[in-house]
Symmetry: C2
């Protein structure tokens, strides 16, 4: 259901076509909620059928038209209700941590490869998030500009600060993962000290 | 697919019934991979059908029997192959962060309630993980004792250290979430300074 509310929040920035919505999604919400474009379009049709958004046909160039979606009063209300409800915590499901629990079935070389891949992944995410926070603080993203242009000035600080806070939290998360991978590499070094073998530490047995 | 490998790794500790497996799961893997018992039993039947595990009928008391599952050589191989492959990073999907991005549609009171619930949830998780790491380091969990009893002494340090490392990573994660919620509460205080109102910062509009 989170996707639905994320789409309502995106559209609140101002009427947009499905194509624009998917583009904005990739440049903002996708950092915190992974979704395929096919899921986005499906949810969009559902929101329209339920009367949460409505499409207006606008001209595109001289001959073509495009359908731009805007929130309805019901959609505005649903968005506000979602924010007012305390979010249930997510169930933890991280394959990397499950596997790390059982690295004894692999060799030290394999464990190192896992920790290095983990570090690399979160270093890239950290860089992405840092760039995004900088853009938000400079009020420089196209979506944020659009939001601020249609909102009262009294709300601008909060609009920017909440977004920057969420992404700064993700930066800290990524840093925590990088540190975990670093300590993992140190652990493997300690376990492997003096051992030249490149074999599973423990062969699984029936 | 992670559930499948987690079950293979659990059963590697020694033959166990479906009931025992579900119990061990809740006391170990469930901390890093949330699953319902119905999912566990379904996957167990699939693993048996594929010849990754096999059931042996054992007596239970004087009259009844029970079915205990053990890994087959194919199951051992699949477990080892899983560990040898670098895990693809998980797609990030955290409803709390999505919502936090849009707290301007709520009041300061609502934002505070979210951050407090977030803090409380991760404080409880941190405490659980800390207790679990302590148990692991003392080699005191029943499952770990069973594992160590059937494994060569040369593998014991790695078996314990990898598990403790994974759970210590989760402790750091939980601490990072707690700190994020704390900073969130400070942010709300700053935004709300001097404002007595308890209304949405921004009313969503079409």
């Amino acid at each position: 259901m989170t996707l639905r509310y994320a789409l309502l929040a995106l559209i609140e920035a101002g009427p947009m076509t499905g194509y624009e919505l998917a583009k904005w999604f990739d440049q903002s919400v996708a950092y915190v909620w992974h979704a395929q474009h096919s899921q986005i379009y499906t949810e969009l049709r559902r929101l329209e059928a339920e009367g949460m958004i409505e499409a207006e046909t606008l001209p595109r160039g001289e001959k073509a038209t495009k359908r731009a979606y805007a929130l309805t009063p019901a959609g505005c209300k649903q968005l506000q209700q979602w924010v007012s409800q305390v979010e249930a915590p997510p169930a933890l499901r991280d394959p990397a941590y499950v596997k790390a629990t059982y690295f004894e079935y692999g060799s030290y070389r394999e464990a190192r490869a896992q920790f290095r891949a983990h570090r690399k992944h979160y270093e890239a995410l950290r860089d992405h998030y840092e760039e995004h926070v900088e853009q938000l603080e400079q009020r420089a993203t196209a979506l944020l500009k659009r939001r601020l242009a249609k909102s009262p000035a009294s709300s601008h600080d909060a609009i920017v600060a909440y977004k920057a806070h969420a992404y700064r939290g993700l930066i800290e998360r990524a840093k925590s993962e990088i540190a975990w991978a670093e300590r993992g590499l140190e652990l493997v070094d300690r376990l492997a000290a003096g051992q030249g073998v490149d074999e599973p530490v423990l062969d699984p047995s029936p």
